[in-house]
C-alpha cells in the first residue's frame, strides 16, 4: 500500500498494512533545511522543496502546503509583520466595526496576497508525489477567519452585542474559505485541512459552535466534497470533547484531537469517524525519542482493535522540534 491508499483505507475503517502516520510538519520543514521560516511561508517553491526534503528524511504519509493561519486575512487586507525565522503576526486587522462590510469582495486566490504561492506549492507537491502521498492544503475555519479579520476580542464581543452582524461577517469568511479551498483542490491538493483554533471550546461555548460555526463548516466541507476532496479533515485544538459529537453533521471524515482529550474519550464521542492525534506538541521540543515512542505505542495499543486512527501530534510539530523525535513518531507506526 502507498501512503494515500493506506490513509484512504483507514478513513473507511478498512484494513491497512499499518497505521498511517502524519507528522504535522509545517515550519519544521524549513528549520530542517536551514531555511528561515519567514522565507518558507512566502515562497511556494521553497515551501514545496522543504516539504519534499522532510518527506524524504522522515518517510511519513502526508505533506502539507501550510504557511500559517494568516494567509486568508492578509488576502482580504490585513497587514502582517514578518519577523526573521518566525511565523507572521497580524499588525493591523483588515476590518473594524466602523467599516461598511457590504463592500467586501472575496479575494481571487490566483492573485491575492500569498494565496498564489500556496497554490504553486500544491501544484509542485502533487506533480512530484502524484497519488502516492497525501497532499494537504489548508484553509482556516469561518470563525477563525472572522477573528483574524476583526481581532479576537472585537469578534467575541460582537458575538454577544450584535449577533446578526457577526453572522454576516462569518458568511463572508465562509465564501473566502470555499473559494480558496476550491482553488487548492484545482491546484493539486487531495484535500484542504480546515484549521479552526478560534472555534475551540477553550474560546467559545459549544452552543456557539453548534449555532454559528457548524452550519458554515457544513457548507465548506460540502463544497470541498463536491469538488473532489478525498476526505474532509477538521483540526481544532484544546478541550474539544464536547463538540466532537457535532463533527459528523458537519461532514468531517478525519477529526484531529489534541492532548486535552484522551483517545478513549475521542473514540467514545466519534465511534465511526477516523481520528488523528494526539501527542503534545511541546514533547517534540522538550522530550526525547523514548518519550515520543512511549506515547505513540500507547496510542497504537489503544486503537489496535478499532482501526480508524492516524498516528499524529495533537497540533503542529513546532519548527524548533528535535528531528530525532519526529523520526521516533514515524518509526513507532512502522514497528507498532
Amino acid at each position: 500500500m502507498n501512503s494515500l491508499e493506506r490513509i484512504a483505507a483507514t478513513i473507511k475503517f478498512q484494513d491497512a498494512d499499518r497505521v498511517p502516520v502524519i507528522a504535522q510538519v509545517f515550519g519544521h520543514a524549513a528549520s530542517l533545511a536551514g531555511v528561515p521560516v519567514d522565507d518558507y511561508v512566502r515562497d511556494g517553491k521553497t515551501l514545496a522543496q522543504c516539504q519534499l526534503n522532510a518527506l524524504t528524511q522522515y518517510g511519513y504519509d502526508a505533506v502539507f502546503s501550510v504557511m500559517d493561519v494568516s494567509v486568508e486575512t492578509e488576502a482580504v487586507g490585513s497587514t502582517l509583520q514578518y519577523r526573521k525565522n518566525q511565523y507572521p503576526v497580524i499588525e493591523r486587522y483588515a476590518l473594524s466595526l466602523e467599516d461598511d462590510w457590504d463592500a467586501l469582495s472575496v479575494p481571487d486566490p490566483q492573485q491575492a496576497g500569498r494565496m498564489p504561492e500556496m497554490l504553486e506549492a500544491l501544484a509542485i507537491l502533487r506533480r512530484e508525489l502524484g497519488n502516492k502521498v497525501l497532499v494537504v492544503g489548508c484553509v482556516v475555519g469561518p470563525f477563525t477567519l472572522t477573528t483574524q479579520l476583526l481581532g479576537m476580542e472585537t469578534a467575541l464581543y460582537l458575538a454577544v452585542d450584535d449577533p446578526p452582524r457577526l453572522e454576516h461577517l462569518m458568511d463572508f469568511a465562509t465564501e473566502v474559505i470555499i473559494r480558496f479551498g476550491l482553488a487548492q483542490l484545482q491546484s493539486g491538493a487531495h484535500l484542504p485541512i480546515v484549521f479552526n483554533p478560534s472555534a475551540s471550546p477553550a474560546v467559545i461555548p459549544p452552543k456557539f459552535f453548534r449555532e454559528f460555526e457548524l452550519p458554515r463548516l457544513r457548507q465548506v466541507f460540502q463544497a470541498f466534497t463536491e469538488a473532489g476532496a478525498v476526505a474532509n479533515w477538521l483540526h481544532i485544538a484544546g478541550p474539544v470533547g464536547r463538540i466532537l459529537p457535532y463533527y459528523p453533521a458537519a461532514g468531517v471524515d478525519i477529526a484531529n484531537f489534541d492532548y486535552y482529550v484522551s483517545a478513549k474519550e475521542a473514540r467514545n464521542e466519534l465511534p465511526a469517524t477516523c481520528l488523528d492525534g494526539n501527542i503534545k506538541s511541546v514533547a517534540f521540543v522538550e522530550g526525547s525519542p523514548n518519550d515520543i515512542e512511549a506515547e505513540a505505542m500507547n496510542l497504537l495499543r489503544g486503537f489496535r482493535d478499532q482501526g480508524g486512527f492516524i498516528l499524529s501530534s495533537g497540533c503542529e510539530i513546532p519548527p524548533e522540534s528535535r528531528p530525532e523525535n519526529v523520526a521516533a513518531l514515524v518509526n513507532a507506526a512502522r514497528v507498532g
Binding site: 519577523r83 471550546p201 477553550a202 478541550p239 503534545k280 514533547a283 522538550e286 519548527p319
Partner: protein, 212 residues
Amino acid sequence: MSDSRMNNLVEAILEGDCAESVSQVEHLYQSGVSSEHIVIRGIETAMTALDAKCTLEQFNLLEIMLAGRAVTEVMKVLYPAGTAPMSTKGTVVIATLEGDVHDLGKNILKMVLIGKGYHVVDCGKDCSLQKLMDVTEKERPLAIGVSGLITPIIPLVRQVKEQLLLRKLDSIKVVAGGAALKQSSSDHLNVDFVAESAFDILHYLDGRTGEK
C-alpha cells in the same frame, strides 16, 4: 460574608451585562455603599463564582471576557481616571514576552486579578526581558506572570528567574501560562508555577498572600 445587596451586581457581571452592572454600581453608590465594599463583596464575589464555574471542561474565553468587560466598566465608575483603586492584595507584573504578540491570555489574567483585588502592572506584549526586569525592579511585585502561545519564547521564559537573581529580586515568584507554556513543566521553564488557566494563577497568588 455575603451581602444580599450585591446579588444583582454579581448576577449582572456573571451575565456579562455591562450596562446593568454599571447601573447596579451607581445604585449601590447612591445608597451609600463604599467603593471598597462593592469591590470586595460584589466584584470579588462575582469572580469567585466565575472561578467555580470555569472548570477545565467548562472554561471558555468568551464568558470570562464578557464578565471582565463588565468589571472593567464598573471599575471606571468606582475609580474615575486619576483616582487609583486601593490595592488590597499586592502587585503583580504581567507580560507577554518578546517574540509573542498573542496577549489575550495575559489580558484575561489581568481582568481576573483586578477583579479579585490585585494591583496589576501590564508590560504589554512583545515585551523585552530588560523592560520586564526594569518594571519589576520599580514595582517590587509579589509575582511576575508571563504568558506564551508559541513555543519559541520558552528559552526567554527560562531566563526570567536568572535575571531576577542578578538583580537580587529572586524572592519574587514567577508564574507562567498560555497554550505553549502550559504544556511544559515548572522545572523545564525554570519558573515557580505553571498554570492551566488564569484562575490557577489566582489560586497560587491567593495561597501566597494567605487569601482563601
